[in-house]
């Protein structure tokens, strides 16, 4: 329950992240989950959907790179995940190709009209299935096809409007570089996933750089991707 004057929260269900955010992501925020390969972006985003499903919130993952089977097989088999969630559509996975086909769009012709049509197609899917949690993995594929900074910003701002209307919270998986461009400024939040090297050891890390409508920790945390979900602990400084 949100305190008076505060935005309602979308409790991610990932305990460590909810603690960092002071109770979850402000509902309807668009959040970039950014970082290099192998840092746990897809796993975090998928857990966000599965946890949502367990709380009765429908989730949609738009995969722009991998097929459903490959994507699911690459994620740690969460002990709280059940394949029936996919069958029943509580966690739906849609390949971008199908979405583009259904909207009569071609990835090679992404002009302003096509961007608006794509956002509208996402909006219709979200509204029809009462999707409360959306993941696009990765948004870079779409932004790369558009190849225009202004249109990329338009895509995100239009998506933001549509998702806000539908009270849908989104995680957009992206590379570190994207955060530094206009997309990083348009997004409501940025969760940076990374690696921390210490004496030859490589630790996976997570850091909330930005999150509108909430105060949050900006410290770096170490994470582990386990069948019990993404686990989080503060990074040790050891006087360094």
């Amino acid at each position: 329950m949100a305190k008076s004057g505060e935005r309602d929260r979308c409790v991610t269900g990932i305990d460590g992240l909810d603690n960092i955010l002071g109770g979850g992501i402000p509902r309807s925020n668009i959040v970039l989950v950014a970082g290099a390969c192998g840092t746990g972006k897809t796993t975090l985003a998928f857990e966000f959907l599965v946890r949502g499903s367990l709380m009765g919130e429908s989730g949609l993952l738009i995969s722009t790179v991998e097929s459903q089977d490959k994507l699911v097989s690459n994620i740690p088999h969460f002990i709280f995940f059940n394949d029936k969630m996919l069958v029943k559509g509580q966690v739906a996975i849609m390949e971008l190709e199908h979405l583009l086909e259904s909207a009569n769009l071609s990835p090679s012709k992404m002009d302003e009209a096509a961007v608006k049509k794509l956002v509208s197609a996402i909006g219709k899917t979200v509204a029809a299935s009462k999707v409360k949690r959306l993941v696009i993995d990765s948004i870079d594929t779409i932004l790369g096809e558009i190849k225009d900074e202004a249109l990329n910003a338009l895509l995100l701002s239009d998506l933001s409007i549509i998702l806000y209307k539908n009270e849908c919270t989104a995680l957009l998986v992206t590379s570190e570089e994207t955060c530094k461009t206009i997309e990083g400024r348009v997004a409501d939040g940025i969760i940076m996933m990374g690696n921390h090297e210490r004496r030859g050891d490589l630790l996976r890390t997570m850091q909330v750089i930005k999150m509108k409508a909430t105060s949050h920790s900006r410290s770096k945390y170490v994470i582990d991707l386990t069948p019990a979900g993404v686990l989080v602990t503060p990074i040790l400084k050891g006087g360094s």
């Binding site: 050891d201 019990a228 050891g238």
Partner: protein
């Protein structure tokens, strides 16, 4: 004498109760008596799961030795911080998770958290074996920080945190750190 020792270990844990960070000063000779006391006489009888963090001996070796000694290993989970660095073949089992090096201290905290999650509410005995091994691999500042984070987290879970130490072989700064981090240090000679 050895029967007395493992019974004494269990009695001590029973006496201090959960959420008390306990350091047990042991000798190499009585190592298995102490471990038997922790696992058989205490954790098994109380229905606790034991999370055994080993930075001294690979989990497979330790598990084999405990089975040979007919210690009840049901409910025994290992966080193995040794096997990876030995570069040998790793025996993967359901009750063991691996941390690449005893210097990846945050990952040890997270592996214990993982076992806590899958224990579904069962209380835990968490054994750190040993502070001597961790002190060899880690700087005292980061080790102190790790111990504070770990002990605080385990106390909040009402777990039984036990740190094994061989006092004769411990660096003075590590000994001092142990005194600060642990609520009670019990010599078992």
């Amino acid at each position: 004498m050895s029967e007395e020792l493992h019974a004494r270990v269990a009695e001590k844990l029973e006496e201090v109760g959960p959420s008390v960070a306990l350091a047990l000063e042991i000798k190499i000779d009585n190592y298995f008596d102490v471990v038997r006391g922790l696992i058989d006489d205490f954790a098994s009888k109380k229905g606790l799961i034991t999370v055994y963090v080993t930075a001294s001996v690979p989990a497979s070796t330790l598990n084999g030795a405990l089975q040979a000694l007919e210690v009840n290993t049901n409910g025994l989970m290992f966080v193995d911080c040794v096997s990876h660095s030995l570069m040998g073949s790793i025996q993967r089992t359901d009750n063991t998770v691996f941390v690449e090096s005893p210097t990846m201290l945050e990952n040890i905290v997270l592996k214990i958290e993982y076992f806590s999650r899958i224990a579904e509410g069962r209380k835990m005995l968490v054994v750190i074996d040993s502070i001597n091994s961790f002190a060899m691999s880690n700087d005292n500042k980061i080790l102190s920080e790790f111990m504070v984070v770990l002990m605080t987290s385990l106390k909040a879970k009402e777990a039984y945190p036990v740190v094994l130490t061989i006092p004769d072989q411990l660096k003075p700064e590590a000994k001092e750190m142990l005194t600060m981090v642990c609520d009670l240090i019990v010599p078992l000679s």
